[in-house]
Point group: C2
Chain length 281, copies 2
């Protein structure tokens, strides 16, 4: 089939490369960045460049832009998509995008499905895209009650063929709640962690734990601030939750309450062990 | 020379194995745990078991116990150590241990030096000890102004021969301040991170960032609560610092201040990049 990929950055570029490597679909690229398009054509990541006017030729369109840009693109070109075709996005929040795009495309007889390939790198742009970026990762699909099952089936199948380790079906709401915890909070905490006065003065004292905690501090501030703002409620719940818990340790230390401190450390250790047991990793 | 190792747990056991593998020193073990002693003898990690009464035969004693147990051991057996010999410890905080042990041993003509092998595992006990546990790690040495240089030289040399990547000389105070940040805070934050209601309900949504942030949540609560309590001031400074910064992100989100949010995320990203530049890793 014909697959249009809109946005040839890290994720879009990786989709193109993974699709070309693992499937025999025809890949059509769209990007306002001339350099990305040239490189994608040159290395064979896309078969051709198209303008939005030719979106009607695509059976599937994968939009790899930031949340607001996805919504703007869909609204601007709604009438160009092929009737009965599927349009998916790949950004890190789902409720906002699904709520905005679904009715607009539904009116045109086009099926919008929010999806989230849970993969990334600390670099952006086509140059860093990889044909195996999705290898073993989760592909989250967030249909609504009106999404035809066949669209979900197609996306699951496609996810498997480009290397994802599993396809998880969820709701946009559940996705955003969980992602606020497993991904967004991690970026907030890691980015806050590096702000100690000791940060540029720890030479020789670097521990594995420190490297773990600060790895994702190196983030794209434009993308993440937009993702955070699109998921305010869930993220604020998580931020408040960790602030409350960190404060508990602080209070136990201030009060010289070793027993309490040991107890709350044990609670955390047990929870981590339980999660390892449940998820077996 | 004769080296006594007191406490044959993860760190003590690893010291014995690394010393036996890489040097021709005679290793004498002390532990109240009979099983650990048997296993250490059996696998050749120690040449013999000794009682504290024979500490006078050791040119170097490495005490691998928790902070208060180190101090108690030193006070109880002070008169048994060999005059002119060196006694070091290996726990994760230095000012408390150095302040308590130095005068007691000084009176006996014995040189106490606080040291900290920056290595560990998420498991405890001799069974998990490894001859290459220290490979590439930092060995922190915290002499006071009265420590003879030759003792520091000996310890640096020994650190190199058992596989440490570098030996860093610091003061007990500086050590504790930096370690509060690079290690202790990481354990507090990671242990707090797992306490979200979402923790046991994230299947399929696990991200690399989440795994990083929660790895060290699986900690030994007895050891860490003792380490935290022995380093109250420095750790509380760090906890308050990260609480303040996480609150900044929260407030920017609550106030819909995307510009501010982007700015503080950028600050963190730039700091992380600077640290990568400085430390070249």
């Amino acid at each position: 089939m014909n697959i249009a990929v809109v946005g040839l950055g890290l994720i879009g570029g990786s989709f193109c490369k993974a699709l070309k490597k693992n499937t025999f679909h025809h890949i059509m690229g769209i990007d306002t960045n001339r350099e990305a398009v040239s490189k994608a054509l040159e290395c064979g990541a896309i078969d051709e460049e198209i303008t939005p006017g030719r979106l009607g030729e695509a059976n599937l369109t994968i939009i790899c832009l930031y949340p607001h840009a996805i919504v703007n693109f869909v609204k601007e070109y709604a009438q160009f998509f092929k009737k009965g075709s599927i349009v998916i996005d790949s950004c890190g929040i789902k409720e906002f995008v699904v709520n905005e795009c679904t009715p607009v495309l539904d009116e045109q007889g086009v099926i919008f499905v929010g999806t989230h390939p849970m993969a990334g790198r600390e670099f952006s742009g086509f140059d860093y895209s990889q044909e195996d970026l999705f290898k073993g990762a989760s592909f989250i699909i967030t249909p609504t009650e009106n999404t035809p099952q066949i669209a979900v089936d197609l996306l699951q199948t496609l996810a498997g063929s480009v290397g994802f380790g599993k396809a998880v079906v969820s709701t946009p709401q559940k996705h955003d709640e969980v992602i606020a915890y497993t991904s967004q909070l991690a970026h907030v905490v890691s980015n806050a962690y590096v702000k100690s006065p000791v940060m540029l003065n720890y030479d020789g004292f670097s521990a594995g734990s420190f490297q773990d905690l600060t790895r994702v501090a190196k983030l794209n501030e434009y993308m993440w601030s937009e993702l955070f703002m699109c998921n305010k409620t869930a993220l604020l719940n998580e931020i408040n939750c960790i602030l409350e818990h960190i404060t508990e340790y602080r209070d136990a230390i201030v009060n010289n309450d070793t027993e309490k401190l040991t107890e709350i450390l044990r609670d955390g250790r047990v929870l981590k062990e339980k999660s390892i047991e449940i998820y077996n990793k």
